[in-house]
């Protein structure tokens, strides 16, 4: 047993509370340098242990939960705005397809709609259920399709030009039906 052995084993002995063998204890007792190193190591361990204790700085501020939730809401809002924008674009594109190419494109609308849900879920963690989303999933096979509602939704944002295009289309369809 020599000073190097003590140095090697000291931290495990102090931090892990691994019991030292008789030879090691004898050496520490007999060697002034190792004895001092041992005492210093004990003090270091005590310092670490005491620093571990709770103190005011280590207690989370009482308003931290509210802060976190507000931050999360802000982040969700940003993503939701993006989702709404994407949803409107997709809705516009879907309806345009329906109007231009007719009934057979309905499946396209459904697929786009599913894609849109994926977008909103991937982006914000919750399902977007706003008006553009509903507009995109309207069943156009039903004669009761409310084009005015769709137009209103689209006119409110990104689909203004498409809405006017659809208005022309609607008037054309109405004339044909009469």
């Amino acid at each position: 047993m020599n000073c190097n052995d003590v140095s090697e084993f000291l931290d495990r002995m102090i931090f892990e509370e691994v019991s030292a063998g008789d030879d090691l204890v004898k050496h520490i007792d007999a060697c002034p340098d190792c004895s001092r190193e041992y005492l210093d190591a004990l003090k270091a361990r005590a310092a670490v242990a005491m620093a571990r204790g709770n103190n005011p700085e280590l207690i989370a501020p009482i308003d931290l939960t509210d802060d976190i939730m507000q931050a999360v809401d802000r982040e969700s809002g940003k993503t939701a705005v993006l989702s709404v924008y994407l949803a409107k674009l997709l809705a516009a594109a879907s309806i345009a397809l329906c109007m231009v190419f007719g009934y057979e494109q309905f499946e396209v609308v459904r697929k786009v709609s599913a894609l849109e849900i994926q977008f909103s879920q991937a982006g914000s963690g919750f399902q977007y259920t706003g008006p553009a989303r509903l507009a995109a999933s309207l069943d156009i096979r039903n004669s009761g399709i409310s084009l005015s509602k769709v137009e209103k939704v689209l006119a409110a944002g990104t689909g203004t030009r498409l809405a006017s295009f659809m208005d022309i289309q609607k008037r054309f369809i109405n004339r044909k039906q009469k």
Partner: protein, 189 residues
């Protein structure tokens, strides 16, 4: 994982804000404590915890529910806080006055005032700042937070031997730095 926690996580995965709030309330304290250990600053710790929970909210869909939640959360926190710490201009280590006497007093009286604890925590934190990233994280998790080795392995993504090795070197360096302070005081006295 407890039934309650599983339900809270499932609800959070479905976008339930109230459930997520519960999750935040449950874990913000240990998260804040570790962030403070890593960053040594209340404001930075607060920001790191906030950033961590935003990431958790965004990534909760990818959480594997067959695993424990805490190590996953602590791993995100440790990475976030470590990244922040790298970006912060660290102050040079200023030794605390009378550290040896304070420790001896604390040992004799088996207690310390909050101010002494605070000073000691800051001192150890500054010493830990001088360690390489992995050693520092392992030391903070194992010795300052008192986590089990298995938990440390999960959070740091290091195997058992790597944790042991990093811990060995970290403890040795922390001890050496403290001893240097002890020696300095001995010479002054």
């Amino acid at each position: 994982m407890s039934q309650d926690l599983q339900e809270i996580i499932s609800a959070t995965m479905n976008g339930d804000h109230a459930a997520f709030r519960k999750l935040v309330t449950m874990y913000q304290q240990p998260a804040y404590r570790l962030a403070f250990r890593i960053l040594g600053n209340e404001d930075e710790a607060r920001d790191a915890v906030q950033e961590t929970f935003i990431k958790i909210w965004q990534k909760i869909g990818s959480f594997d529910t067959s695993r424990e939640f805490a190590p996953w959360m602590f791993r995100i926190l440790a990475n976030t806080a470590t990244d922040r710490q790298r970006a912060i201009l660290r102050h040079p280590m200023v030794p605390m006055d009378g550290v040896m006497q304070k420790i001896e007093y604390m040992q004799q009286h088996d207690q310390a005032t909050p101010a002494e604890n605070r000073e000691l925590a800051i001192l150890i934190s500054r010493i830990a700042d001088t360690l390489p990233v992995k050693q520092r994280l392992v030391f903070l998790l194992r010795d300052m937070e008192g986590m089990a080795s298995a938990e440390v392995e999960l959070i740091t993504d290091l195997d058992e031997n790597a944790v042991k090795s990093n811990l060995y070197h970290a403890r040795k360096k922390v001890r050496e730095k403290l001893v240097q302070l002890f020696e300095k005081e001995r010479n002054i006295v």
